[in-house]
């Protein structure tokens, strides 16, 4: 049906219905929510694979390794329990909101996504998949079927920090995710730090990550963060905050995320 007539994809409905506003549903809708193949979490030697229809509630309960703590923390911050029970991981990615809570922690896990259509499947890095504010490389006849996380840094410490103006049901002003792996000498061997809600698409702070490699994983780690490490952020001003504030808050949250990872290491 998608291939022949197109249509909007409906899964958890947590973005589909709110996007309607006052309007009724128009055009064709393709409900994929009961496609069992798109559900569930599997572990093989190279990847942990999350089916696109997997809900946040399922992710919170899943027996993931340590480096997924940030993703789980993000899942607990997505809407309320009602949303976590319905909202799907693929939906969050395909909706591609700059404030999508799952994107920074998934970027920090070097996530790849798989798209299927009747022409076959293709796979790409999540960082390549989301190309702009609510823009992805998904073709109208494609479904985001699986999220694949390489099993490279499973014992890394990880965290997710979300800044909003209230406790629950809040759209992020800024969020930061970090995954930090250390070697036997307790030095940083892998560092992935990402920031969301501060650019059209959440981004990794590659220069900071480079700067962290080899440093002792102690509280002093956060002192390595420099404002220029955040230069690729381009936050907007909106109802939630000014752009200056976002950049400033992102700096402090990155520091805090590193401290949390250091404490947990």
């Amino acid at each position: 049906m998608l291939a022949t007539r197109g249509g909007q994809i409906l899964a958890g409905g947590t973005d589909f219905f709110p996007a309607l506003g006052d309007r009724a549903v128009r055009g064709d809708v393709v409900d994929i929510s009961s496609v069992g193949e798109l559900r569930g979490i599997t572990f093989d030697s190279n990847y942990i694979t999350i089916g696109g229809l997997t809900t946040w509630a399922e992710i919170i309960k899943a027996p993931f390794p340590r480096c997924f703590e940030g993703l789980k923390a993000a899942a607990r911050e997505i809407g309320g329990i009602q949303i976590q029970n319905r909202g799907t991981i693929a939906g969050n990615l395909c909706n591609a909101s700059p404030a999508a809570d799952s994107v920074p922690p998934l970027l920090a896990l070097d996530t790849e996504v798989e798209l299927i259509s009747r022409h076959g499947t293709r796979r790409m890095a999540l960082a390549d998949f989301i190309v702009g504010n609510r823009k992805t490389l998904r073709q109208p006849d494609e479904i985001l079927s699986r999220i694949l996380i390489p099993r490279k840094v499973e014992n890394a410490s990880s965290t997710f920090l979300k800044l909003g103006a209230r406790r629950y049901l809040v759209i992020s002003i800024v969020m930061v995710a970090a995954v930090i792996q250390n070697d036997e000498a307790h030095r940083v061997s892998a560092a992935r730090v990402s920031v969301g809600s501060c650019s059209a698409v959440a981004i990794r702070l590659a220069e900071l990550e480079q700067a962290l490699i080899g440093s002792p994983l102690t509280k002093g780690l956060s002192s390595l963060v420099r404002p220029e490490h955040l230069r690729n952020l381009s936050p907007i001003a909106d109802l939630r905050a000014t752009s200056i504030y976002r950049k400033d808050a992102a700096f402090h949250l990155v520091q805090r995320a590193l401290n949390i990872c250091a404490r947990g290491a």
């Binding site: 409900d31 994929i32 402090h252």
Partner: protein
């Protein structure tokens, strides 16, 4: 992949398990589950607050997990199981305990969020028998409540989990005043059976939607309706201003009435109606309103007070010069001289934004024409005012209009103004068919009234000894495109701007200014909460400047029974403000010490602060009559009918008024049958606003009860001390040693069907204010003071309120549980106003951009009830509804100052504003150091 389900406009049949029963429905597969439950299956216990997953009111269990039923397509649940609030009763004993606990704790106020709360709590407790407070907060974090402040809901869930012994819920003995009687309308709210505005659909009713202006100001031309109707089968009629039969000009204050149902050629604000489309409900709902034939020409709009007052600014209403709707002032003494002679003077400016009421229930109702009468059942706070305006709009007599108030899912002032009523009344009148309308959340936020943004400038002076000498206060309020309650705000604020203190020299001048934005109207406090944000911060600065503890400074200056107010009123008795402040002293001293110690030793980014603010608030209309009439009748079955016209919007007037009446009759609450505020059967108890219902309607009910008792005693020839047992067709009268029976069955009944009818009117005694605002504007004031303890993250600018202690002089606490509910709910709204709430017209017309506090934002609230009886209030009682909200925001802002030494002059004190203020202050500090 055979299970991919294409959805299209055709309906399908499907079955699912609903509340343990298999049901079949026929529906378009993409229809929202919430809509099918409510409108096809008749289960209206599931409420719809936003249709966007932002409020959680529609929470149901889907295969045992809570979900928002507005986000589930009916086509997705074939062969799944759904449990709604109506189905929870099949899950005893847990649900019995939950319901009981909600009632006992007063966890349901208006009841619109209650089903969502109960369903969420059920899911939690079925999975975890002894959850922590944090787990309870997580479980209800996705359900918004605007009334309770969440704490009583959290307590109720924890209590239900603990399975502690249950208490009896009602009193069956006389003497109910002062007792924690469970709200009399509570059972319906915890069962989901309460009928709110959208919960009843008359058979064969038509749907109605309104075409609204998308610009702040626009000229428009309406096109050809004949073509439009021909192209849209199912749309029966289009109504515009040409169809209004009566005088097309309404408004809550008749002297200032200026609002038409539909704009004629120029729309004055975004969201103003230009036409109504009526027809088959399904067709109307699916209609793409952008196909309606109207052409817009956007015009330059006035959005701010400055633009409205600028030289040569276009007039929004030709007859209102300079765009000034009206003003108010109170003058006393010689303020300029007194300021010049003061030992210490502080001056500052403060600004607030639009605040949205965010009632969980969007406006809704239906109208039915019966012969030459029109009947409207809708949510409202003011049935008789609605009646007068609808009669005027339709050009018919007041008596030809019947207003049946539906249960109100939150009001807070916004449901004092007409919303759906003019549209449905006009359409039902014209078409002679029932017509129903339910505002969407977007429409509700776009088109209904807001709290007035205020710009306030003030100077205050004091003596070295710490006595207030003078206050000079000026405020402009952005009142939007129509008058609504602008005149009330302009008149009320100058009376209150002194705060509850003796200020010998005083000048307060206000204006309400028209702009091209949605009308600002009544919102809990009529401008006084904004005013208190300025005045209470300014007095804090005075105290700091003088080196006096801010609480002691307030105690030193507090009004008492003999000191005159700024309008020259001397209360004589019942002024409990000093007692409120003194009740806070012990916790204040402890908190200030703890906070100072924390800040002195911390090395992290968190600072703590404690702030205090006081409040006074006059109950009822300002120097205007506002009577309530209460009728009670002794029925032949020995029960007592109470015609209680004070609309209960969740605050508890159904219960409070009955308690007062029961005490006067000296009968147990159980003997009373409440008759609603239906204008065809119940006299006018005025509007539910201005914290007047306990005072005014409560007093009328007490007087009527006293009269009924006297009449019964006379009939029974019994003495004043006799005890009468009501509730049976034979009354039993114990008079000293003598007992006698009095059979009611054989006695004649009057026109109302009662053996004895008693009707009393109470109008609180006030006097007009003279040209300087001197006089007695209110018969009774309520007093109170809050302290707020906060933590503030100086790197992120975020604030967490840790604790609020709220002391209120309520005169006489008729029902402590309900009063605490008002206080906690007021604290939540004050917290929201201080820290997160601001509405920007045209932006964020939803509940994820417009933020109100969630369960996780509310601190514990300690309520201290002070009873300094008013000589006028019933048994001494005073109002509490608005009083509760006023001190919280300034107390939080003073706490912020205490934490970081910075005044936040523009609220809300959002993280970016606080952080910017910290950075600016650091930059200044560096400059000073250089």
């Amino acid at each position: 992949m055979s299970t991919i389900a294409p959805m299209s406009a055709t309906k399908i049949q499907l079955k699912f398990s609903l509340n343990n029963r298999e049901v079949w429905v026929t529906s378009r597969p993409e229809e929202r589950l919430s809509k099918v439950l409510r409108e096809q299956l008749g289960l209206t216990g599931t409420k719809v607050g936003c249709d966007a997953g932002d409020c959680g009111a529609c929470t149901v269990l889907l295969d045992h997990e809570p979900v928002c039923s507005c986000l589930v397509a009916i086509g997705q649940i074939e062969n799944h199981s759904v449990t709604t609030v109506e189905g929870l009763k099949s899950r005893p004993p847990l649900f019995d305990r939950l319901q009981h606990s909600f009632l006992e704790h007063g966890a349901a106020q208006c009841g619109a969020c209650t089903p969502g709360m109960l369903v969420s709590a059920t899911a939690l407790l079925e999975g975890s028998s002894s959850p922590s407070e944090a787990a309870v907060m997580d479980a209800i974090g996705g359900v918004l409540c605007r009334c309770t402040g969440y704490r009583k809901i959290i307590d109720a869930i924890l209590d239900a989990a603990s399975n502690s012994p249950r208490h009896k819920l009602t009193s069956d003995s006389a003497g109910s005043v002062g007792q924690r009687i469970v709200r009399l309308d509570g059972k319906k709210k915890v069962e989901g059976t309460e009928i709110f505005g959208a919960d009843q659909i008359p058979p064969a009713s038509l749907g109605l939607r309104v075409v609204r202006c998308p610009y702040d100001r626009a000229e428009f031309r309406l096109g050809d309706f004949a073509d439009f109707l021909a192209n849209h089968p199912g749309v029966e009629s289009v109504f515009t201003w040409k169809d209004v039969p009566g005088e097309d000009c309404y408004g809550v204050i008749p002297r200032f009435a200026d609002q038409p149902i539909f704009a004629r050629s120029e729309a004055r604000h975004r969201g103003e109606a230009v036409a109504a489309l009526v027809g088959d409900p399904e067709v109307i709902e699916a209609l793409d309103l952008s196909t309606f034939p109207v052409t817009w020409e956007e015009l330059p709009a006035i959005k701010t007070i400055d633009e409205a007052l600028a030289d040569g600014a276009p007039l929004i209403h030709a007859r209102r010069a300079n765009n000034v709707l009206t003003g108010g002032r109170v003058l006393r003494g010689d303020v300029d001289k007194a300021l010049a002679e003061s030992d210490v003077v502080v001056a500052d400016e403060f600004e607030t934004g639009f605040v949205e009421h965010a009632c969980i229930e969007p406006e809704a109702g239906f109208a039915v024409r019966i012969g030459d009468r029109i009947e409207i059942q809708a949510c409202t706070q003011s049935p008789y005012m609605d009646r007068a305006d609808i009669a005027k709009l339709l050009g018919i007599a007041d008596e030809a209009v019947r207003i049946i108030p539906a249960a109100v899912g939150g009001g807070f002032g916004t449901k004092l103004d007409l919303s759906v009523q003019p549209f449905i009344a006009l359409a039902a009148w014209r078409l002679k068919r029932p017509v129903r309308m339910v505002y969407s959340r977007v429409e509700s936020m776009m088109a209904t009234t807001k709290r007035h943004p205020a710009r306030m400038r003030c100077r205050a002076g004091a003596t070295k000894a710490g006595k207030l000498s003078a206050l000079d206060f000026t405020a402009d309020f952005n009142t939007g495109a129509y008058s609504s309650w602008g005149p009330t705000v302009a008149a009320r604020v100058p009376v209150h701007a002194s705060g509850p203190y003796f200020v010998p020299h005083y000048r307060a001048v206000t204006r309400a200014i028209h702009t091209n934005v949605v009308p600002a109207g009544a919102f809990r406090g009529f401008g006084v909460p904004q005013m208190a944000i300025a005045q209470e911060q300014l007095y804090d600065d005075l105290a700091i400047e003088l080196g006096i503890d801010p609480l002691e400074f307030r105690i030193l200056n507090a009004l008492d029974d003999r000191t005159p107010t700024v309008t020259g009123q001397v209360m004589g008795e019942g002024v409990g403000i000093r007692a409120c402040f003194e009740a806070l002293r012990a916790s204040w001293i402890a908190s200030r010490a703890k906070t100072a110690a924390f800040n002195a030793t911390t090395t992290g980014p968190i600072r703590r602060g404690v702030g205090v603010a006081g409040m006074w608030y006059g109950c009822g209309n300002t120097s205007l009559p506002n009577p309530s009439t209460v009728r009670i009748g002794l029925k032949p079955d020995g029960r007592i009918a109470l015609h209680q016209g004070a609309v209960d919007i969740g605050q508890g007037s159904n219960t409070i008024v009955t308690q007062l009446c029961a005490d006067a009759v000296r009968a147990p609450i159980d003997c009373f049958d409440l008759v609603s505020g239906d204008t065809s059967i119940t006299p006018d108890c005025g509007k539910t606003s201005a914290s007047r219902q306990t005072l005014v309607t409560g007093k009328a009910a007490y007087m009527a009860g006293t009269q009924l008792r006297a009449a019964v005693l006379k009939m029974a020839q019994a003495s004043d001390e006799a005890v009468v047992a009501f509730g049976d067709s034979t009354l039993i009268i114990h008079d000293g040693a003598i007992s006698r029976k009095c059979s009611l069955q054989d006695l004649p009944v009057d026109e109302y069907g009662y053996v004895i009818t008693s009707e009393e009117t109470f109008n609180p005694p006030t006097s007009a204010l003279d040209e300087n605002g001197q006089g007695n504007p209110y018969a009774v004031y309520g007093f109170g003071a809050h302290t707020a303890e906060i933590s503030l993250d100086i790197e992120l600018g975020t604030v967490k309120v840790l604790k609020v202690v709220a002391a209120h002089d309520v005169g006489r606490a008729i029902n402590p549980t309900l009063i605490e509910g008002q206080i906690e709910g007021g604290v939540a709204q004050g917290l929201g106003m201080a820290l997160m709430e601001e509405f920007f017209p045209g932006k964020g017309e939803n509940l994820h951009d417009y933020l109100i506090p969630t369960a996780g934002d509310m601190p514990p609230v300690e309520s201290i009830l002070i009873e300094y009886p008013s000589p006028i209030g019933p048994l001494g009682a005073k109002g509490i509804g608005e009083q509760a909200v006023i001190p919280t925001a300034p107390a939080i802002l003073n706490a912020i100052h205490n934490a970081i030494g910075i005044r936040i002059r523009r609220i809300p004190a959002s993280p970016d504003r606080i952080r910017a203020a910290i950075l600016a202050s650091q930059a200044n500090g560096v400059e000073h150091a250089r």
